[in-house]
């Protein structure tokens, strides 16, 4: 075990642990935001640069500070390392710059985006961005396309985290979409029109941190904050059958994987609970599911504010007034 200090909090972790994961073990506000890193998807991380942290001391052996900010998702801790995240002005400033970079070409179409309310980019902009934009140039634009019959791709919203490419690599050996072109013209696409039709393709919707990939079966049906997320399960031969169904009254509007507080798929016995397309797109009748109960969502998001699993204190307050 080795000792690392993050924002003045000391923790012992196993050798080889990344700064990000050490911070997640401590939890709370000292956890750096992650837009591209995703624990269950090997190869992710390092690209978005939102998790940059300052290394005030490299290790006990070599306590010199590191000259550059380091990405916490891919930098492993050393014994005696001192990391500054929200206590570093340099981090705050550079992270704000990363947010600005991620937003200059983003359409900011949150009012009509299905991801609004549970969007990592919205949350990141709120928590780490600066007011206003200095970008006066024309934004780069793409036309929305269908990738497969179930998924809509809005490339304008994409931040190129590559998670959807990695999830396809992980769940199929026949990936048909990928990153094309390069530089700021890079886009996620199938190149020529091709159906993304493997049985687990829908999971790319859930790993997408923004509204670039959305579920066509639930698009525009409801704002996310009007839906009640419920833990649900079903007998499924292809997947674990453990999901969250998003309900409006007694209707199932949407089905997703169960996500933890970092927006990542829940892992059980070392296996991520990905769900198959049949569960996600076809089981839209409440009778398909065994509803276990309300899903607690613990994120810095609008959807966390619903607290559907608890009695609504406001409702009671209103009653009293009546």
């Amino acid at each position: 075990m080795i000792k690392v200090t993050i924002d003045d909090i000391e923790i012992e972790v196993a050798e080889g642990t990344t700064i990000m994961n050490a911070a997640r073990m401590i939890g709370g506000d000292i956890v750096p935001p992650a837009m591209c890193y995703y624990s269950s998807l090997p190869g992710t991380g390092g690209k978005c640069r939102t998790c940059l942290v300052e290394i005030a001391a490299g290790s006990t052996k070599d306590p010199r500070p590191m000259p550059k900010l380091m990405v916490s998702c891919s930098t492993t801790v050393q014994d005696g390392m001192i990391v500054k995240n929200r206590t570093s002005e340099k981090v705050i400033e550079n992270r704000a710059a990363v947010v600005e970079f991620l937003l200059i070409n983003h359409p900011l179409d949150c009012p009509v985006c299905d991801q609004a309310g549970e969007c990592d980019l919205q949350d990141l902009g709120f928590s780490h961005g600066k007011e206003g934009s200095r970008y006066e140039e024309e934004k780069r634009t793409f036309e929305p396309i269908d990738i497969g019959e179930n998924i809509k791709l809005h490339m304008n919203r994409c931040i190129l985290c590559y998670r959807c490419v990695h999830v396809a690599n992980e769940l199929t050996d026949q990936r048909v979409h990928g990153a094309l072109h390069r530089g700021d013209h890079t886009e996620i696409s199938t190149y020529i029109e091709k159906a993304v039709d493997n049985e687990f393709s829908g999971n790319m919707i859930d790993v997408c941190p923004v509204g670039a990939l959305t579920d066509k079966s639930s698009r525009f049906k409801s704002r996310i904050w009007f839906l009640n997320p419920m833990n649900a399960s079903c007998e499924c031969k292809k997947c674990s059958g453990k999901a969250v169904v998003w309900m409006f009254g007694k209707q199932v509007y949407r089905v997703s994987v169960r996500q933890d507080k970092y927006g990542e798929v829940e892992v059980e016995d070392g296996k991520p609970n990905w769900i198959c397309n049949e569960c996600r797109f076809d089981k839209k009748d409440v009778s398909n599911w065994n509803i276990e109960g309300p899903r607690h969502i613990d994120r810095h998001s609008v959807i966390s504010q619903g607290h559907y699993e608890k009695p609504n204190p406001l409702k009671n307050a209103t009653k009293n007034i009546e």
Binding site: P67, F101, E137, R182
Partner: protein, 447 residues
Amino acid sequence: MGRKLLLEHIDVSGIETYDVYRNHGGYKSVEKALKTMSAQEVVEEVQKSALRGRGGAGFPTGMKWSFLAKPEGVPRYLVCNADESEPGTFKDRFLMEKLPHLMVEGMITSSYALGANTAYIYIRGEYMFVLDILEKAIAEAYAKGWLGKNILGSGYDLDLHVAPGGGAYICGEETALLESLEGKRGNPRMKPPFPAVKGLYGCPTVVNNVESICAVVPIINIGADEYLKIGTEKSSGTKLISACGNIARPGVYEIELGLSVEDFIYGDEWCRGIANGKKLKALIPGGSSVPILPAHLITSTAAGERRYMSYESLSDGGFASGSMLGSGGFIVFDEDQCIVRNTWNFARFYAHESCGQCSPCREGTSWMEKVLHRLETGKGNMRDIDLLAEINKKIEGNTICPLGDAAAWPVAAAIRHFREEFEWHVTHPNDAITRNYGMLKTPSITL
């Protein structure tokens, strides 16, 4: 007359063919290394020579070699970085085109030192005609027993291949190069692990520039002690400089490091001064990525000392008043050239060449390009100049690979030394649209 180690026989007719090359002392370093030296001794000799990587970063070659991991039963690779694409740099093409057997010889001696049994020369795809020349030389070397099994009866085997790129500056970054050589997009990898531990196909790999590998040949032939006598204390040996821009005699020159910048620009042996009798305005001494120097900081440093062609003298004064030797891409600007236009041109280059993987580089380089284009075409405002400085500070150091820095430095340096020229473009929007600041008398094309 400076000493020539690489280009000693460049004027010999037919030097690109095996027989002529061999008759002029070719492949002697292979004989010496394989017959009289252990692999470790070759590594030590190169370390002792203090040869610094000639691709641009200047990292000591011998030290890089000494880092190579040597786990049992795992192949090791030597990969030559022949993806020369740094604007202003055309020395590696010259070496490979004119002296293909020197390249092959350097690869054999170096591969022997590193214990690599397979080596690749990754050459930029645009140099396909050079690839043909190299493959011809390699075929000759196989035929004469310098490549293949049991070279010179030493028991050492080596296969050497050439692989072309497809048009991507980023593949000059060593991990992007390895990705490309594995048949993927040229996205740089995150480091660590470094290629010396996990490189090509996950195996320990050394990636060296063409000129570095060629320099191993004279180092082994004359010995490190002799090599150290050439150049300066901190910059040993000779360096190829590719000189271009507005000079009377552009071309590739081998210089002893430590030659004065003034002699190089004005000397008869080298550039022969500024073309058409014009005045010197600015210099980029080491390829487009390094900071530009204004006239008063070229032949002498800020402290008033003579400036020399060496790693230490060109960087004297840091980025405030110095630059870098870099790749040796020596770009000279005459009084008629517009710094804003050139800065925009380079910004466009980096935006075009960014791989698009990490956000500060992907978004920042093209943002800078757009702002600079507005300034150059008379549509900018004063705020834009500070914005540029601000954007490049946020790219620098925050990216996966050095392309971000390479894109940021030229913009920062241009604003540092030529701010009034940027401001002039704002205050003279109608004149800015015609060609430039310096050439007001003869406006030429419109954008």
